[in-house]
Symmetry: C2
Amino acid sequence: MNSNRPIGVFDSGIGGLTVVHALRRLLPGESLVYLGDTARVPYGTKSHATIERYTLQAGAILQRYDPKLLVIACNTASAHGLPALQAAATCPVLGVIEPGAELAAKVQGPVGVMGTLATVQSGAYETAIRRRMPGAEIHSLACPLLVSLAEEGWLDDPITTEICQRYLKQLPDAVKTIVLGCTHYPVLRPSLDRARPGTTWIDSGDVTARAVDALLENSLGYRTESSAGPLRVLFTDAGTRLKEVGSRFLGESLEAVELVEL
Amino acid sequence: MNSNRPIGVFDSGIGGLTVVHALRRLLPGESLVYLGDTARVPYGTKSHATIERYTLQAGAILQRYDPKLLVIACNTASAHGLPALQAAATCPVLGVIEPGAELAAKVQGPVGVMGTLATVQSGAYETAIRRRMPGAEIHSLACPLLVSLAEEGWLDDPITTEICQRYLKQLPDAVKTIVLGCTHYPVLRPSLDRARPGTTWIDSGDVTARAVDALLENSLGYRTESSAGPLRVLFTDAGTRLKEVGSRFLGESLEAVELVEL
């Protein structure tokens, strides 16, 4: 098996670029192909059947690039589409929920999980955390407005802080660790910190990058070429603010973008 | 031509149910078939080419019901897909922008237009208003967060008022009339009123219902059956909050819902 093949990263839109950001920091030598389904984003308000179907279609597109590994960088797509894509794909498929749950299961005391409506309703984090820690106390919280706030760029903003407070006050005070169960949320950290000071946030992008590292080390192999790892970015639709918002999530300027047909 | 055929109403999701609400109030005898493209909603952040393609696909689905008239109840789809659907459809097609512009062109002084990013970037309201009133002073304002707030149900809410204020203060004080250029916005009226007291709001749903009435009276004919007009509601995806949020927009309980495949 050729370890120089790319890692395919799939997201419902641009939020998954926070996972690409974490991957490029930790594994700068890896070749990455990112696919964002901007023509049908967001997934967080859609049904299980539709999210699963979209995830399979995106996986099929990424398979054309002969990846050594597929990463579902979207919590909603991981919650609803991971088993189906694992069954269909010809390479290993990693979601963002298992790595986040792995870390959350080690927490002493109750854990919070923030996510989209579809992620919370799937119960995927509860299932994944309780598989590792059967008696875990988990409080899940759907936060539908946060994706729009992140895309609008109101990151360190009194209104965003107020909205985060309204959501977060539904969690018991004893919750000191909260999983950011949506790839859009890490960019809201300034407002989240102000809304609930002293919280430890589990960033699913960071832990997923570490899980990818472990997979490469243990079984799939690192890219051996010495050049910096290339990044190829594909979208199913190119809205006008794509590069502006995308660069915010990627943490670097988003230059060349390719369009793919669904 | 049989005037008992239904009126087909298309929207990107559930916002267009505010137009259905206005139609059922004004024309209770008419038969309506509504199609909401909830599998791909929202359109407001997507590109011209994608919105136009989606509008054509939705129009083709509604044509199966042999409508006497198609109404594009979504401002974004009207701004980007109306000419293409008019060229493709076998019946007349009315968008929501022309009726809103008709009323806005009669206003003395400057006019504001609130809408999605895609609607504002299309310049469709400017074009339609200036066709009727060449020297009109028009101030357009993209308000990306308002759709999410309407769907979250924070209708009469201090946070929503604050967000409306932040958007609306970008308009000159002299603007006293503002077009609600997105079908989601009318449900936010309590917060909008508090954010900018004394404003006259042009509700594109209301004016579109009156435009439909005029079309039926002048050329297409009213339904002649004496029973109350039936309403059939189709969606391309059934998310879990669909009936709850849909009922809020429809102004009556949303009962039977059918799923259609894209």
